[in-house]
Symmetry: D2
Subunit: 403 residues, 4 copies
Amino acid sequence: MDFEFSPRCQQLQKELLSFMDEHVYPAESVYEAQRAQLASPHESPQILEGLKSVARSRRLWNLFLPHKTEWSDGLSNLDYAPLAEITGRVPFAAEVLNCSAPDTGNMEILTMFGTEEQKERWLKPLLHGEIRSSFAMTEPAVASSDANNIACSIVRDGDEYVINGRKWWISGAADPRCKILIVMGKTDPAAETHRQQSMVLVPMETPGVTVVRNLPVFGYVDREGHCEITFENVRVPVGNLLGGEGDGFAIAQARLGPGRIHHCMRTIGVAERALERMVTRAQERVTFGQPVVERGQVQDWIANARMDIDQARLYTLYTAWKMDKEGNRAAATEIAAIKVAIPKMALEIIDRAIQVHGGGGVSDDFGLAWAYAHTRILQIADGPDEVHRRTVARREQRRLAHG
Amino acid sequence: MDFEFSPRCQQLQKELLSFMDEHVYPAESVYEAQRAQLASPHESPQILEGLKSVARSRRLWNLFLPHKTEWSDGLSNLDYAPLAEITGRVPFAAEVLNCSAPDTGNMEILTMFGTEEQKERWLKPLLHGEIRSSFAMTEPAVASSDANNIACSIVRDGDEYVINGRKWWISGAADPRCKILIVMGKTDPAAETHRQQSMVLVPMETPGVTVVRNLPVFGYVDREGHCEITFENVRVPVGNLLGGEGDGFAIAQARLGPGRIHHCMRTIGVAERALERMVTRAQERVTFGQPVVERGQVQDWIANARMDIDQARLYTLYTAWKMDKEGNRAAATEIAAIKVAIPKMALEIIDRAIQVHGGGGVSDDFGLAWAYAHTRILQIADGPDEVHRRTVARREQRRLAHG
Amino acid sequence: MDFEFSPRCQQLQKELLSFMDEHVYPAESVYEAQRAQLASPHESPQILEGLKSVARSRRLWNLFLPHKTEWSDGLSNLDYAPLAEITGRVPFAAEVLNCSAPDTGNMEILTMFGTEEQKERWLKPLLHGEIRSSFAMTEPAVASSDANNIACSIVRDGDEYVINGRKWWISGAADPRCKILIVMGKTDPAAETHRQQSMVLVPMETPGVTVVRNLPVFGYVDREGHCEITFENVRVPVGNLLGGEGDGFAIAQARLGPGRIHHCMRTIGVAERALERMVTRAQERVTFGQPVVERGQVQDWIANARMDIDQARLYTLYTAWKMDKEGNRAAATEIAAIKVAIPKMALEIIDRAIQVHGGGGVSDDFGLAWAYAHTRILQIADGPDEVHRRTVARREQRRLAHG
Amino acid sequence: MDFEFSPRCQQLQKELLSFMDEHVYPAESVYEAQRAQLASPHESPQILEGLKSVARSRRLWNLFLPHKTEWSDGLSNLDYAPLAEITGRVPFAAEVLNCSAPDTGNMEILTMFGTEEQKERWLKPLLHGEIRSSFAMTEPAVASSDANNIACSIVRDGDEYVINGRKWWISGAADPRCKILIVMGKTDPAAETHRQQSMVLVPMETPGVTVVRNLPVFGYVDREGHCEITFENVRVPVGNLLGGEGDGFAIAQARLGPGRIHHCMRTIGVAERALERMVTRAQERVTFGQPVVERGQVQDWIANARMDIDQARLYTLYTAWKMDKEGNRAAATEIAAIKVAIPKMALEIIDRAIQVHGGGGVSDDFGLAWAYAHTRILQIADGPDEVHRRTVARREQRRLAHG
């Protein structure tokens, strides 16, 4: 057992930390100022493109990809994990490295399951950061935690697929640069449970695709948007099928594991930053003649934060290692578990940081309320925590039964 | 000991519940739709004025006032408390009854400490719901939990007071109908601790009063606004002093107790509504072949909510009774305690209701994320919970020492 | 609404507090010393009889009884409740007033359902504190939360009932003064669910009654004992039936409500005493140059304790009032709720008190570990908390459905 | 980064697991039965000696030692850690491998700081499991978390040291096989803070050493005992000094780190066993027509237990690795942190396991109440958790200040 990161990973961490110090942190206030000036909340502040070209030039680009590309030989989940944590410290940092969801998962499955034509048309511009994409799985009318519930229909009609359905929480679809949707629906409701679903590529501008509304998260209207989208007799050529008919569930599973690592590690970055802010503020603030950091309960909050973050990080790294070594299936318990454990940890810390910041904490002055809102949603996205706890509990029963 | 409300209070509850059913609940969606159409987030949806005139005509108006007025003989804290709870169920209900903060506290202190001229000019239109007001105490640079920290200066210069300072979280000041600010500052920094502060009435349009910005709460830009305001050589006539010089702290204390009851009871109303939504949703939603309400942890959430709400309500009613019977000073422990206990209770319930609603919970579809954000701020406003817990702990020490 | 206790109740509180100060607190160390000298953990320290006669002479005797007796005109649940709290402060105080479980519930049902002969033989010596009794309902093999599960059989054979079964957690049965068991069993397994059970009076010395073992609670062997008892062809005359055949469930329900109030109020007394000890210790103990009571987290513990106790007390008093006014059935939600809410509150406080006492807290020097163990069992006795939460949740659903 | 245990460690785990299956688990009920027969609670059940000789013969002996001995080449903290976890599953397993506290720490410091004579006389029989030992540091009158507080005096008088003081919670001293005490006291109260203390070896039978009483833990009287001991003019030859005068604090620090790992890993073993029992019981128990394991809250408990244990284990292993690699001083934050994090985790799980077991949980039928009591004490022993959280918080401040 060895807790040291690989030399390559350590080198990349060093480079990424420099990039953050030199470019990303100084850009935070600029980003906010530019965003406040834009006509629409969905437009991109100009500074992002500049940051992206620096990142690309430093080869801090598409690091999430496990495959060999022009930018890298590909990183394992374990080697990428600490880099994802670092990007989690600033809301737009992952995007600057072309490592932000949902593009990452989409690029991953296009790489794995896409035809040459699909790769040429969609994967290439995604890898170059020229367009963005969305992943349309969740539906409003049914509990999304049960893949079986999907109601969206994909029916073959000659050389085309006809799509009808309603999706929501489709993140990224409000970004004007979003050009392509990967839509999950049922091609064969009569097939066995996990062979009913397929995925098709649907260009944003296809007739019948309508963004009905944009869902706020608490009061935040996110730049990328979380859209409710209707599909009414949307027609795409059969060549837009991703993989084969009935492969939808399997592709979704393949997409799931690495994305979980990315999300969790970024959330750990969020928690570290909140802790840092909490300590700083508690040192500066004086009440009743004593810096707040000297108060017993604040010391408890700081210490608990340190312990909880360190445990959460080790747990996620262990999960990444297990995925790399034994495959996603073998790591199913951990992939479900970190989904629950990490946001819970982060929310507690962000909440305590808010408390130490007083009125500044609930407003936008320190990014803490934003962090809270966007971490809270992780307890719901991809199925509520309760469903994942149920999975972990059942696997524990099985583990004990089979020794 | 008798837990039955007085006949008059029961009668008013009945009337208010009818008004809610007939007018307020049906107006909720209209309110949202109208607000979405308005140019500014600080304008009032038209429907409010209609609701206000119905309320006034039914004498469901200014109920919070303990004093005899043209609308009522005045209600005790205990008799008003359950009415405040009912108004808490809908965000704009208290305003419709002319019972919303910060006007309530301001009307209260104008009634108690205002000159005839002040009453004629400001109290009267406030009582008639024609204008609105703000209370400017909290400052950004210092911990607001310690009255001693106030930095805003009020200096007499001939027949005028000159005010300089910076305030924030001044709720209500963004409402175009807000015409008057009650400003707390120091007239005599050399006086003994609790005689340094005074309050002056500052009309919104006075030169030197600048709303610098408006603070969001978890992304929400509230209609009434939470403003950061600078006062630069703001001059008002000496007749605008409220009470005498050095009375500021005492007036603030008088304002505090009843406001605490109002806030806490409304928060209980928020919690009741969240519980109601949680149960309804859990009954409708089916996962893995079972209504969610049959799941053990959801039953625990519902049961805990019921227990916690009922305890919180009794605690607040007891506090109101003690204030009515023995005075605010005698109830100081309870006034501090409910400030901590009630929002904590409500946040837990709202959070569980969000969880049961999935994606709908964090968006604005059920009002839950909004409720969370605006309840969370109560753990910070009027001094963070930790300060109030410290007060309760010290009073407990004293109680045990003196039997 | 009025939170003042009745004059009679206030007078009794005053008298009981004097009795505690003059006799009970000073007896605590004597009790422990005498108990340590006794050959068996189940014998009674001599001092108890002396305390009992003082209590009897002061008419602080059988206060729990709602009926007119030679000692009192009977107290309502609400009037008795604060007296029960006071007795909760010292482990043996309730016994000294002849107000300790399970005798209280047994005397209650003998008064309500007993024949004259049963009253003469068993109720009278119980009321005079000459003998003790047990209530045998819980069984080891089945979940005791479901009355339907009872396996013990009571079969009529001529003029006798023949009892076969195994019970456990039969509190009081190890006391050498325990002379009578009230046994719940099934007389008619074919009847409708709540008419299958009956209760019979079984003298301890009846052949076939065997105390198999005595269950410890967190290592504590209690004086009264928590026994596992087998009944093998135990024969009692038919005149020993309590009420009619099939009345067992109904009698158990009647027994339940008041007992719940007693337990909960005594537990509040336990919590108050733990808080008192916590504050005292925190004032005396100095670490890093500061009394522990000045540390923020300790202040939080004290303040939370104060808030939680006060809410719990109001909740229990409200339940008692509702039982008195509307009957036990109407108060079913509250009777289930306080069973969950009050021990949870108390455990948290006792645990924090233990923490402040360090090594002294987990040993027997301050009675805190004992209090923890005996409060913890309340989350299990009479059915685990989860079952009662389920009841509360279902009643909440029904309440919302029917307005 | 690699989460695989070393081949040697894996081999030892396999051997130890076999030993547990073949010998230790089957001995559990025998142990309890034998103990119940013994005249004193401090005598050893006979079965232990048999188990010890099997363990010795399999070279599963003194595994904790990092140094080369006749039984092993010495294991690193990291390699020993998972073995300690396994022994934690059964209360007496560590003793059977001669790996139980406080002997382990004492053997460790005798190895490191003992003279040849001290080693021959005390270390050798300890290593052979022929005698036992105690470590006398904690004192009743002062907060033991501050080494500076030690009041016990060690005064040189010619060729002897004279010891006066009172210690408590001296674990192991009630075991009739305990022959030697390592006593911490002050030789020079005028020296700088961390050079005032020294350690001396005091044979149990030395005149002036009196075991005043034995402290229970909750209601448990432990076999090894937790003694309060007075030292009245106790005289030992100067050759009994361990290390040099003033070395006491440094030796205590050296003793601390590995002991922390052992305790924490064993506590993880306790938690794993509690989880195992919880799952088993929840599968067997049926209420309202459903196995308890299907209830949502029970699934949550199981899942949370799995997540919390796995995180706690990784945290402790990481700490062990850091100690091995960078030394105890570098791992000071983690050594303080696991002291807090691991017992907290375990208590929650044991408590939920108790709840699932109902009355069986609080009694001694499943070892859960015992486990709770003995894990609870860990939040107090070696200084209360709050002191260690303070350490972690302060080190976090320093870390952030220095990057």
